[in-house]
C-alpha cells in the first residue's frame, strides 16, 4: 500500500498549503500547481496508461478520488476567503500617465528644406551642394555682377581675409556645376547664405536658400512658370495660385518675383500677407546669356531658367511664424511645436 500512502501525503500537503492560503490568487496558484494542464495530479493521471495493467484500476480510482477531494476543498476554501484581500484591493488605474520616453523634434527649417527638396527631386532635379565660403568670381562676376557695379548693392556681403566672402546666395553652386559639365543641367542647391543685415522680424544675417537651375535646348519662360506653379501647389496646397511680377536680378533676364496666394486667407487679406492676399516667396528668371558665356555655354544654343527661394520665407507663411529670429533662438517651446 505504498501508493496509497504517497497519495495520502500529497493530499495532506495540498490541504496544508490550502490552509495557509489567504487570497484567491494563492488558491488559484495551488489549483494550477496540482490540477493545471501540467499539474502534479494531472500528470499522475496521464501516467496511468504507462503502468502495469494490473494496478491501473486501483491507481486510477485513488487518483480520481484525490482529484475530486481537492476540487471540493479548493471550492470550499475559495468561498471562505474574503473577496477583497489586500492584493485585490489595489485599484488598477488605467488612466495614470504612461511611461513616456523623450522624443526629439527636427527643426522646422530642416523639415521645410527636406519637403521642398523632395518636391523638386520628384520633378527630376538633382541635389548639389557647394561651399559657404566663396570667391568674388563665383558669387558675383560669373553671375553677371561685375566689380563696381551697383547691382552688388542688392546683396551686402560679409568679407573674410584674402578676398574670400560668405556667399550671398546659393547660385555659385550653379556656376560650379555648369563649369563641370555640358547641358542638360537640372539641379537644385540648398544651403546657407549670408548678407549684412541685422536681426529683426524679417531679416537675419544668416539664412537658408534653395536655388534651382534647368539648362537645355528649348527651355522657355513658359516652362519656368509651369514648374513653379506645380511647386507652389505641392507645398502650399492644390488651390494655391501663383503670380509673377517683373523684377531685376543681374543673372536672369527676364526676371520676376513669385507670389503665391495667401494660404491663410485665400486672397482675402490677413496679417500674414500684410492684407495683400499674396505672399512673395522667391525670385526667378531666364538665365542671362552673360552667365552662360562665363561658364562656356553657347547662349545661342541653350536657354535655361533659374529660381531661388529663402527657406525661412517659405516656412514662415506656411506655419504662421511671424518672427524670423525664432528660427535661430532655438527655444525648446518653439522647436517642440514642429
Amino acid at each position: 500500500m505504498k501508493f496509497e500512502k504517497e497519495i495520502e501525503d500529497i493530499k495532506n500537503e495540498i490541504l496544508s498549503e490550502l490552509n495557509l492560503s489567504s487570497s484567491k490568487k494563492e488558491i488559484e496558484d495551488i489549483r494550477i500547481k496540482y490540477l493545471g494542464r501540467k499539474g502534479i495530479i494531472t500528470q499522475r493521471l496521464k501516467d496511468i496508461k504507462n503502468l502495469d495493467p494490473k494496478v491501473r484500476p486501483r491507481h486510477g480510482k485513488v487518483l480520481n478520488i484525490l482529484k475530486s477531494t481537492i476540487e471540493e476543498e479548493l471550492e470550499r476554501k475559495g468561498q471562505e476567503v474574503p473577496k477583497e484581500s489586500r492584493e485585490e484591493e489595489r485599484f488598477f488605474d488605467y488612466t495614470m500617465p504612461g511611461d513616456r520616453r523623450w522624443l526629439g523634434h527636427l527643426h522646422p527649417l530642416t523639415t521645410t528644406m527636406d519637403e521642398i527638396v523632395d518636391v523638386f527631386v520628384r520633378m527630376g532635379f538633382t541635389v548639389k551642394y557647394g561651399p559657404d565660403v566663396e570667391t568674388e568670381f563665383y558669387n558675383f562676376e560669373a553671375l553677371n555682377m561685375p566689380k563696381d557695379h551697383p547691382s552688388r548693392d542688392i546683396q551686402d556681403t560679409f568679407y573674410l581675409e584674402n578676398n574670400l566672402l560668405l556667399r550671398t546666395q546659393t547660385s555659385p553652386v550653379q556656376i560650379r556645376v555648369m563649369e563641370s559639365r555640358k547641358p542638360p543641367v537640372r539641379i537644385i542647391s540648398p544651403g546657407r547664405c549670408y548678407r549684412v543685415d541685422n536681426f529683426d522680424s524679417s531679416h537675419s544675417p544668416v539664412f537658408h536658400q534653395i536655388e534651382g537651375l534647368y539648362v537645355d535646348k528649348n527651355v522657355t519662360l513658359s516652362n519656368l512658370i509651369g514648374t513653379l506653379n506645380t511647386f507652389a501647389k505641392a507645398i502650399f496646397g492644390e488651390s494655391t495660385r501663383t503670380k509673377l511680377t517683373p523684377h531685376y536680378f543681374p543673372f536672369t533676364e527676364p526676371s520676376a518675383e513669385v507670389h503665391v496666394s495667401c494660404p491663410f486667407c485665400k486672397e482675402k487679406g490677413c496679417t500674414t500677407c500684410k492684407h495683400t492676399g499674396w505672399i512673395e516667396i522667391m525670385g526667378c528668371g531666364m538665365v542671362h546669356p552673360e552667365v552662360f558665356r562665363k561658364v562656356g555655354y553657347d547662349p545661342d544654343k541653350y536657354t535655361g531658367f533659374a529660381f531661388g527661394m529663402g527657406i525661412e520665407r517659405v516656412c514662415m507663411p506656411r506655419y504662421g511664424i511671424h518672427d524670423m529670429r525664432l528660427f535661430f533662438e532655438n527655444d525648446q517651446r518653439f522647436i517642440h511645436q514642429f
Binding site: 511611461d99 551642394y129 573674410l160
Partner: protein, 684 residues
Amino acid sequence: MKVSVEWLREFVDIDIGITELACKLTDQGVSVEGVEKVGKDYILDLEITPNRPDLLSVFGIAREIKAMLQKDIKKNPFKITEEVQSNGSDIIVEIEDYSDCPRYTGCSVENIEVRTSPDWLRQRLEVMGVRSLNNIVDVTNYVLLEMGQPLHAFDAECIKGRRINVRRAKDDESIITLDGLTRKLDRDLLVIADSKKPIALAGIMGDEESEIKNNTKHIFIESAYFNPTLIRRGARRLNLSTESSFRFERKADIHALIPALLRARELIIKFCGGIMKGGVTDIYKKQEVETEKVTFSIKWLNDFLGSNFSREEIIEPLTLLDLNVKGDTSLEVEVPSFRRDLDIKEDIAEEVIRMVGFDSIPMRSTIVFEKVGSLPHSSLKIGKIKEYLVSRGYDEVVNVSFISSDELKPFKMGIKPIAIQNPITSNLTHMRSTLIVGLLKTVKRNMNIGSRDMRFFELGNVFIQNQTSGKVEEPLKIAGVITGKVKNQDWRGENRTFDYYDLKGDIEGLFSFVNINDNRFEKIKGELSLLEEGSDIYIEKEKVGFVGSISAEISDYFDISKKVLLFEIELAPLLNRISFDYNFKDLPRYPAVLRDLCLLVPGNVTHQQIEDIIRKSGKGLVEKIQLFDTYYNNKITRGLRSLTYSLTFRSDSGTLNDEKVNATVDEILKELDEGLGINLRGEK
C-alpha cells in the same frame, strides 16, 4: 525712392485711384513698398532696381506711368533747346581725361539773391526726403528730383582763375567737404578743381569754400556726366553716398545734361533773380555709338518665352515705352538714351512681358526628363543620423555660423577662428570653428526660460583655415549636448541625472545604428581642457571627436550652473563608412554557451583593455562580452575593483562542448592574469 503723386500729375494724367496705381506699378516691376498721405498729396515709396536709373526722377516715373496707362506726356522738361557752344560761359572748363568725364556742361548766373525758397518748393523737396537749404541749392535739387540729373552750384567768386579743371586729385591734396570733414585725396579720386585746388569731389559733394552762401551773388551751375565706376569707387571709399553719387553710379543720361542745366537756370532766374552771364559751356567727346539698336526675330521671342505673340502684340507695348521698332519678322528696336539698360534681345523680351503681364504666357510644366532626380548619398546618410538622434530624444537646433573669438578662449582648442572683416556686432566677429559654442548658448538661453532637462543636437559645417595650405575648409560636424534628468519626473520614481555613460551610450547607439563597428573611446590626448570626465572617440585609428562633461571653467564662462555633457564628431569619417549596401550574414546555426566571470581588477585597468584581451585570447569563439556588474567594497582589497562579465561563446562550425569552452576560458584567464594582473574573484 519717394515720389509725390501731385508732382507726377504735372506730367501725366492719373485717372485711377492710388491703390490701383500702386498695384499696377508693382505688377509692372516698379515695386511700391508704401503709400503715405501728406495733406492732399500721396507719397509713393518705390523700390527702384539698379538697372533703372531712368526711374530715379519724377519725370522718369511719370514716363513709366504714361506707358502703363497709355496716356500722353503733358509736359516734357527735356524739350528745351538752345544753341550751345564749346566754351560759352565765362568760366573756362578743361577735362583731363574724357574717360573719367565724357561730358561737362555749365553756365553762369549773376546778381542772384540767396534767400529761402517759396513754400511750395520747400514742401516738394521735403516730402521727397530732401532738406531745403536756400533757393539756389533747392533749385538744383528740384531739377535733380524732377529730371534725375544731378547738378552742382558753385559760388563763382570762389572759382580761382575762373577756370574749372576736371582732373584726378593729387596725392598731397585735401578738401573740406560740405559736411565739415577734411578728406585726404589721391589719384583714385576725381575732383573739380579751380586754378589752385580742388573745390568739389566730382559727382559726390562740393567743398565748404565754394558753397552757396547768403551773400553769394554770382554762381556757376555744373551739369556733367562722370564715369559711373569712378564715382562708385570714390563714394564707397569715402563712405559718402549722396543723391548725386547714387545717380552717377547708376549711369545718368548723357543727353539730359543740357536740358537739366537750362531748366535749372530758368528756375533760378525765376526764383532768385539774377541774369544770365554768357552762354552755355559744353565739353563733350561724343561716343562712337550714339544710338543703341537691338534686333531679334519674332520667332526667337516666342520660342524663348513659350508664347504666341503676333508682331503687333510685340510692337505696341514697346512703342508705349518710347522704343522705336522697325521690321517685319525680324525686328529692330532703337533704344532711347534714358534706357541704356536695354542692351540685348532678352532685355526687350522682358519689356514686352512687363507690359503685357506674365499671365499672358501659357503655363507648361510638363517637361519629361531622361533621368530621375536624386539626392546625394550624404544627404540620405545625414537623414539617418538625424532620425536616430531625434528618436533618442534630441531636439535639432540651428545656430548662426558666427561666434566671437572670446567665446572660444575657455576651450583652449588651439584653433584660430576665421575673422569676418565687416561683422554686424562685436559678439559675432568670427566664423564658428566648433558647434559647441552655439549649443552651450542654446542651453543657457533655455535655462533662462526655465527649462531644466534638455537634449539638443546640431549638424552643420564649421570653418577652419588649413594650417599648411591656408585654404578655408568647411568640415561638417555633428554635436550634441545633454543636461538634466534622464526622464521626466514620474510616479514610478525611476529617475536620475544624465551622466557620461548616458551620452556615450547614445553615441555607441548611433554608430551601431549606421553599422559602424570599429569605434573606440580612449583617454583624451593633447591639451583639450574642455572636459572634466570624458574621452576621445576613434573610428579605427582615426580620432573623430570627443565626449564628456564640460569643465568648470567653461560652465563658468557660459554661466551654466548645471552639469552639462556634450559631444562633437566629424561627420566625414562617418559618412565615408556608412553604406546602404548591406551584406547579409547567415544566422547562427549552432547554440551559444554562456559563462560568467567575476574578475578582480587592479584600479587603473580599463574595461577596454579587458575586452581587448578577451577578444584576442578567445580565438574567435567569443561572440559577445557583456559587463553586468561592477563594485568596490570592503570585502575587496583596496586598489582593486570587481567587474563581472557574461561571455557568450559560439562557433560557426559546430556545437561547443564544455571541454572546449573551459579550455578557452582558461586561456582567457591566463592572459588576463599575465597581461593585466587580473584574477577570478575567490581565487588567491
